[in-house]
């Protein structure tokens, strides 16, 4: 519980990173993303995800296309754009760097 509450800010900051990772792997729609995040510490809800996805789309990190679904209305499937791929690479490198630094500091 302590970690859950105390590090909410960190998780929040990294949520975009996590979403980029998921979207990079495959074509997904919003419910898929929620499902993938569900069991992780990044578990989130529509109320948070949708505004964030729209922001990422505005920043041209992700893009979506409408795909007809067997049941119900067509769904928005998200994929990574080139810019998103660059951002993901940058973030990954930065994250590794951060981890490395933190490990070094402890010595």
């Amino acid at each position: 519980m302590g970690a859950e509450e105390n590090f909410a800010g960190i998780r929040k900051g990294l949520l975009e990173f996590a979403i980029l990772r998921i979207v990079a792997g495959q074509l997904v729609y919003a419910a898929d993303i929620l499902q993938r995040l569900g069991p992780t510490p990044f578990a989130t809800q529509e109320g948070t995800l949708y505004p964030l996805l729209s922001k990422m789309r505005r920043e041209e990190l992700v893009d979506y296309q409408w795909v007809e679904s067997g049941a119900g209305p067509p769904r928005k499937y998200y994929r990574l754009t080139d810019k998103g791929q660059t951002r993901l690479n940058d973030l990954s490198a930065y994250w590794t760097n951060l981890n490395h630094t933190l490990d070094e500091l402890g010595r």
């Binding site: 800010g9 929040k12 919003a30 419910a31 809800q45 529509e46 109320g47 948070t48 729209s54 209305p73």
Partner: protein
């Protein structure tokens, strides 16, 4: 028994019971507010509606066609609060809720005319709401000032009528009272008030009682704000107003609403002129109060007469407005006839139990009849 509301979520009809609908409405409004001027607001709301629709579908089957309130609140719980740019910066979801609970800036307060509580144009009601005073006190002040200044304040009123905007949307209504208007703000406010009045002071002190009353009153105001909201900001996806209103009826309603508004204003001016003339010359038109009737009684009679006639005009105006808009005129029903009934009961009690009042009323009646007969040169039945 609950009413069922059919809503349209992205082109698919869903049936909700009324409280479920209210919850959904509050959620979507809070979402719209949180998103603020986000350029993708419409799209995000659209997506949210779609997600809610999907979740609703999972609760429904051929045997079960209506989403209940319990199910809806579960769905909305799953959706989570919508985070806009503003709330996202404030911290995490739970952190954000905490910070807003501990009192953000007080809602902005502005003067509006409040047609809902209006006797004439809602100026006094608006001022009363702004200063948190009973509007009747403001009205009395206005009348006294009008008399003292020989009618100057009636002019002030007319000017204010045009200068002060009317509270039309729920935001404006809330701003007029300086109270929050969306669900989250209402809840936060309620919590804060509750804490305030439980935090300090022993429960047996008179102060506490007063505080509790204040709190209850404040809650009632909020409930009214909400009713007002549902009534005047009908959601696009919701059921249309009760019963279709034909264009003809609407035009007639509009015409009559206008006419009655004018009549009401004319009445007020006539009333003020009468008071002034009564005070300065001791007579209204050609009628002077009978000898022995003190001035204040004459003024009281004038006030009561004005109250009765104005109440009737107000009610008619309310009916016209409801004809025009198609919304039931619940807010006018206690205005005119209710006041009349109270007046009649009070009058009857006085008439029965206070001999002086009894005599005085008889005398007034005689005077009135005499005046009527002489003025119009007719003879009343059984003269």
């Amino acid at each position: 028994m609950e009413r069922v509301v059919t809503i349209n979520l992205n082109g698919n009809p869903y049936q909700l019971d009324e409280s479920a609908y209210d919850a959904l409405r509050a959620y979507l409004d809070a979402a719209a507010k949180a998103l603020g001027d986000n350029p993708d607001k419409a799209e995000i709301i659209h997506d949210l509606e779609q997600a809610i629709a999907d979740k609703c579908a999972s609760y429904l089957s051929p045997a079960k066609t209506v989403v209940s309130q319990g199910e809806m609140s579960k769905i909305l719980q799953e959706m989570g609060p919508v985070e806009g740019e503003a709330t996202a910066n404030a911290g995490t979801a739970d952190g954000g809720a905490k910070s807003s609970e501990s009192g953000g800036p007080a809602p902005k307060k502005r003067i509006y005319r409040i047609a809902e509580d209006a006797k004439i144009a809602g100026v006094c009601a608006g001022i009363g709401a702004y200063f948190n005073i009973d509007p009747n006190i403001i009205r009395l002040l206005f009348i006294i000032l009008t008399v003292v200044t020989h009618g100057f304040f009636a002019l002030v009123y007319v000017v204010m009528m045009f200068v002060i905007p009317s509270a039309i949307t729920s935001e404006e209504w809330a701003a007029a009272h300086g109270i929050p208007f969306n669900a989250q703000e209402v809840i936060d406010e309620a919590k804060r008030h509750y804490r305030d009045f439980t935090a300090d002071g022993p429960p047996w002190s008179g102060n506490w009682k007063w505080r509790r009353r204040e709190w209850k009153r404040a809650m009632r105001d909020r409930a009214r704000a909400f009713r007002f909201y549902w009534r005047y900001a009908p959601p696009t996806a919701a059921a249309p107003p009760t019963g279709p209103v034909s264009a003809l009826v609407r035009h007639f309603g509009g015409l009559f609403a206008f006419v009655f508004a004018i009549v009401g204003a004319a009445l007020l001016i006539g009333f003020i002129v009468s008071i002034i003339s009564l005070v300065s010359t001791g007579a209204v038109l050609n009628w002077a109060p009978p000898v022995g009737v003190p001035l204040w009684v004459a003024i009281l009679v004038l006030c009561i007469a004005f109250g009765v006639i104005n109440g009737l005009v107000h009610t008619l105006r309310g009916i016209s407005v409801s004809m025009m808009t198609g919304y039931p005129s619940w807010r006018y029903h206690d205005g005119g006839f209710g006041g009349l009934v109270v007046l009649v009961i009070v009058g009857w009690i006085f008439y029965t139990y206070v001999p002086e009042a009894h005599n005085w009323m008889l005398l007034t009646w005689m005077q009135l009849r005499m005046w009527f007969e002489t003025t119009f040169n007719v003879h009343a039945i059984n003269g």
